[in-house]
């Protein structure tokens, strides 16, 4: 009650709300962000959390939820540009973006009615922890994914399943795409087998990493973000992300070697040699890709000539 009163006092425009109307929303946010992870959280922690809520944005959303028409007008006027921008980012074409932007307001208001008689819109899920503009962008992005899912015949896959599949593929040496440098078929098969086992150990090692490090690896290697962008997602500077990645490389190397020695029975020199050969093969993999375009151009010129 006291926290809700302070929240209301911080708002520039409280839209005629009272502290009582804010209490359920504040309590929901505290449960979600504080008490779910730490049921014994202190009063100071809770008070600090409430005092950092976006008072103006939360009052606006609660007022909209209460059916305040002026608040709705204000919301649409202030955030139409944000919603359109987010829709354009999430859609592949302008027409789809416009449809998405139009549908977002209906989603926010809610077409269905809850048990208490109020619209069952997405407005009820805004906690005020982050900015309203950011929340609207996230809602638009999720809505775009939902719409895409409905329009496509999707096969639900989980990323863990991806790694399991890679690990599974690693057991079959024929799936390893590394090109053997040696013309000897036996050596080539041996290299492929070594490469597949190294990849399998690497995938397992990545899975065993801490969530923070694994997220950095995913952002940088799998999502193709730059270090600066990956650092921004993690809330750290680019230099910090770079140092963290260097540490991850060293730790992954040790972990892969340990797995290969313990599970595959390799020796230390064998793991070192395997790393070198696999790296050499991977570099050889990249070179043909880089040379593809000039070769094709040369062939086209020869045909034209």
């Amino acid at each position: 009650m006291e926290g809700a009163g302070r929240l209301l006092g911080r708002a520039t425009d409280n839209h005629g709300l009272t502290a009582e109307t804010l209490i359920p929303r504040v309590k929901s946010a505290v449960d979600k962000y504080i008490l779910r992870a730490d049921p014994q959280a202190s009063a100071d922690v809770i008070q600090d959390f409430i005092d950092k809520l976006q008072a103006d944005d939360l009052c606006l959303i609660v007022a909209c939820e209460q059916g305040n028409q002026k608040a709705w007008t204000d919301l649409v006027e202030r955030f139409s540009a944000t919603v359109r921008s987010a829709a354009r980012s999430a859609s592949s074409n302008e027409e789809g973006a416009e449809d998405l932007a139009q549908s977002i307001w209906a989603e926010l208001h809610g077409l269905r009615v809850r048990e208490d008689g109020k619209p069952a819109g997405k407005l009820a899920y805004y906690s005020g922890r982050g900015s309203l503009a950011g929340w609207l962008r996230a809602v638009v992005a999720q809505l775009a994914i939902d719409q895409h899912r409905k329009q496509s015949r999707l096969v639900q896959t989980e990323e863990d399943a991806d790694f399991d599949r890679i690990i599974q593929h690693g057991q079959d040496e024929s799936t390893w795409s590394g090109h053997g440098a040696s013309p000897n078929p036996e050596l080539q098969i041996s290299a492929k087998l070594a490469g597949a086992q190294v990849q399998k150990a690497l995938a397992e090692s990545v899975k065993q990493m801490s969530a923070e490090d694994r997220l950095l690896v995913k952002l940088y290697y799998f999502d193709g973000l730059r270090l600066r962008e990956a650092g921004a997602v993690l809330g750290v500077h680019e230099a910090t992300a770079s140092r963290r990645l260097t540490r991850i490389h060293a730790e992954l190397r040790q972990q892969v070697e340990r797995l290969l020695i313990e599970q595959e029975g390799w020796t230390q020199p064998e793991t070192a040699r395997a790393f070198s050969e696999v790296a050499l093969n991977l570099e050889a993999d990249i070179e043909p890709l880089l040379a593809t375009e000039p070769v094709l151009m040369k062939k086209e010129n020869e045909v034209a000539g």
């Binding site: 950011g134 929340w135 639900q156 890679i166 997220l215 799998f222 999502d223 997602v233």
Partner: protein, 393 residues
């Protein structure tokens, strides 16, 4: 070696990512967004709080765990972070433009700024105090010199008071008088020449005149202390020591001219007398031994040497009156056997013209005033006329 190991792991990770992407294509997914949003996924509020970095630590750890394995949620967070970064970049100029006074004040006194400003201020203060102390130290030395300098004018002043003439004393006194008195009477051309002469003379006599002015102003008071105070850093006056000959001559001229200036009426009367005498000369023919032009040798020597010698102030005044002539608006002083225009500077070159020569006739034909001057002054005459100096002999 360590860097090579890192490069190998880097290559392996890239290959792993390529392998996973190609497998996802093979499995039918068209893009990262194609992942189904299950109930376990983060909602919009959680995604946004993570992207904005405002999620509490326990919740953030949980979200990180999910994001590391969920490409769909990760994609949304990445897009939110990038959108927020672009939005903040766009908002930066507006914030700067609309920054209030207090915000600017806070930025000015922020710890970051103060961290640089305070040492800079301290350094500046130390340098300033050091310079001030150095300057004061130099000032003390100058004051000590000034005390010695002040003794010289005081000695000269005492000599003057006791009847012993000093070159510096009358020099400065009459120079001021000359500048203020005669210039007002002269015609424009004469005034221009006087100004030029004054400038040149001041340059030549700068050390003397600059120092001597102060005693001249305070001559009546003879207050050495005030002299020292008025020019605390003045260089040592040369006049107090052995003065060079040329400045002394100038000083004499100046003294004579200055003496004329307060006695304007005497000059005018004397001019009238001279013109009367010239007229009488014309009647009786030229007489180079005229008593009014040729001074007695005793007086002559007294007049020339008077400024240098230990004669009294009264004798100086008398000599200056006797040795000065004014003809055609020009003032001449007797120096040996020559009459020298007071506007003449010894550094200036002269055009020698012999009396009766063709050159002399041509000159006097153009400038009849020179004829009058040459006629009234016997012997060698150095006259400055239209910014040129002629030596008529």
């Amino acid at each position: 070696m360590k860097q090579a190991n890192n490069n190998e792991v880097d290559l392996l990770l890239r290959a792993l990512a390529r392998e996973r992407t190609s497998a996802a294509w093979q499995s039918g997914s068209e893009s990262g967004y194609a992942k189904q949003v299950s109930s376990a996924h983060l909602d919009a509020d959680e995604l946004n709080s993570y992207a904005e970095g405002v999620a509490p630590d326990p919740a953030r750890t949980r979200y990180t765990e999910h994001l590391a394995d969920c490409e769909a949620c990760r994609g949304i967070v990445v897009s939110l972070v990038q959108s927020a970064g672009a939005a903040s970049r766009l908002e930066v100029p507006e914030q700067k433009g609309g920054a209030g006074f207090w915000q600017k004040l806070r930025e000015l006194f922020s710890p970051t700024v103060l961290g640089y400003a305070v040492p800079a201020l301290v350094l500046t203060a130390v340098i300033g105090i050091g310079l001030l102390a150095l300057r004061q130290q130099q000032g003390v030395q100058f004051v000590a010199q000034n005390e010695r300098q002040a003794e010289a004018p005081s000695a000269a002043q005492n000599k003057a008071d006791s009847g012993v003439s000093s070159a510096a004393q009358p020099q400065a006194t009459v120079q001021d008088g000359r500048q203020s008195g005669t210039t007002a009477e002269l015609p424009n051309e004469k005034a221009a020449l006087e100004r030029e002469k004054t400038q040149v003379g001041q340059e030549l006599l700068k050390p003397d005149s600059s120092v001597a002015k102060a005693p001249a102003k305070d001559a009546g008071q003879a207050d050495i202390g005030s002299v020292a105070e008025s020019r605390p850093y003045a260089p040592e006056p040369k006049a107090a020591a052995a003065p060079p000959a040329a400045p002394v001559l100038d000083a004499e001229k100046s003294a004579e001219l200055a003496k004329e200036a307060p006695a304007k009426r005497e000059d005018q009367a004397r001019d009238r007398d001279e013109s009367f005498r010239v007229q009488s000369d014309d009647v009786h023919g030229p007489n180079r031994s005229r008593s009014n032009t040729a001074q007695p040798s005793s007086q002559r020597s007294a007049g020339v040497v008077g400024g240098r010698g230990p004669s009294g102030m009264d004798k100086n005044k008398k000599a200056a009156e006797v040795e000065t002539r004014s003809v055609m608006g020009r003032h001449f002083t007797r120096e040996g056997d020559a009459w020298v225009d007071t506007a003449y500077e010894y550094s200036r070159a002269t055009v020698r013209v012999a009396r009766g020569s063709d050159q002399f006739r041509a000159l006097v034909a153009d400038e009849p005033a020179i004829r009058t001057i040459a006629a009234q002054l016997d012997g060698v005459v150095i006259v400055v006329w239209k910014n040129r100096a002629y030596r008529i002999q």
